[in-house]
Amino acid sequence: MIRRFQAVLFVVLLVASAVMGVVLWQLRERAHMRLIAGEDSAPTNAPLVTPAEQATLLVASDADNSLLAQVQSLPLPQDPGTRARIVLGKLLDIYAAPDAAHPVPGGAGSIAQVFLLPATDSAPGAQPAVKPASLSKAAQSSGPLLAVVNLTGSFAAGHPSGLATETLTVLSICATLHANLPRVTQVRFLVDGAERPTLAGHADLTRTYLASQAAPTEGEHP
């Protein structure tokens, strides 16, 4: 048997809870309105639009094992590293498109980073010794550059296996970098930030590629 004062107390607490709920809801609405009122959605600065530039992509074709130059208009920033990443992203977007002449899944997101370092004259396979502090200065200098292309693991895992197809991917990346950044003379590859023996079982990723040799001359295969 519930006593009378307990019933009254229960009703009072129930009413108090309901009132507190209503008050909290109103406070939340007021705070929300204050936030909206405080935001100034009017544009204060003009958006930075990078001007479109002509970029030359060396697009691979499995049909005849060749690289064909294709000129595209792309918004390219001034920073060489970002520029290289955008150009290579566009190249891999072409490969990821349906009915591509060199089908490779992944697209632009497969290029994690592109680092530009001062190139050394060391033998193929040797690692250049560069201090981290000098990395940002490397792109500003006028000497030849080594591009380190960091690919994602999913790109390597999804790449079709084969000597011809892997070689074409590597050479088209090297040739495209050299075509758009002529100071890039050497290219090395990483996958998820680490060295990997091959791209998908065949093409050697442990060596330094000479970018100028990857570019085909007129009418020739790479």
Partner: protein, 231 residues
């Protein structure tokens, strides 16, 4: 001092007759046997390394092993000594493959691959720049002294394969096994035979196509042997 005074004239004439007889015998004897012609067949991948997956579901390692065995029989039947880097589904380190090839002192080394991409037969020579032969060569670039010979081998194989009706593409690549070989070396990648419009005329799993490829490669290597033996 005079020969006649010493009484050595008969000895001199005997020596002269012996030398003439030896020269005559040498001229009439059969020619010395030619140096042994050895071909190294490297069936790529093996063991845990399956290589690519073909459309039939077969792995690249199984395809290359089958092609290696078939090609070895064809070459052996034509009197060519064959050394293989693997005879079973075993993992063989790339350096070990190159060691086997280098110890064989071979006149041709072929690294066999297969892929569903592209068409016909892809011949790859090393992308290393040619260099002069040296007594000691760096392991990773040992092929550089042989690149010129490898390109000649590619030319001969290209002609012979095209003569056999095969579509051939020539290219250069960086393949560690080939880059460490000290012999005329090529990577040979077999792809499906395609007609116009990229449709497959002969798939990799087609036994007839496999047989034609093996026969064409054997004929090409015979051509290379005959060219290698020409002075």
């Amino acid at each position: 001092m005079r020969w006649t005074k010493l009484g050595l004239r008969p000895f001199f004439w005997a020596l002269f007759v012996l030398a003439a007889a030896a020269t005559l015998a040498a001229a009439q004897s059969p020619p010395a046997p030619a140096a042994r012609f050895v071909v190294v067949l490297d069936a790529a991948h093996g063991g845990d390394d399956s290589g690519g997956r073909l459309k039939s579901g077969q792995s690249e390692k199984a395809f290359t092993l089958a092609l290696s065995v078939r090609l070895r029989s064809l070459l052996a039947a034509r009197g060519i000594s064959v050394v293989t880097t693997r005879e079973s589904d075993a993992a063989v380190d790339p350096n070990r493959r190159a060691e086997i090839a280098n110890h064989a002192n071979a006149q041709a080394c072929l690294s066999l691959h297969a892929s569903e991409t592209g068409a016909g037969i892809h011949l790859f020579a090393s992308s290393l720049a040619p260099s002069a032969p040296a007594r000691f060569a760096a392991w990773k670039t040992a092929q550089s002294a042989w690149v010129t010979r490898s390109l000649s081998l590619a030319g001969v194989l290209n002609s012979a394969l095209q003569h056999a009706g095969m579509g051939v593409t020539l290219d250069r690549t960086a393949l560690p096994v080939v880059d460490s070989m000290t012999c005329p070396a090529l990577a040979v990648e077999i792809a499906p035979e395609r007609g116009p419009g990229k449709q497959v005329k002969s798939a990799l799993e087609d036994p007839g196509y496999q047989s034609r490829v093996a026969s064409a490669l054997a004929a090409a290597l015979l051509q290379w042997r005959s060219e290698a033996r020409q002075p």
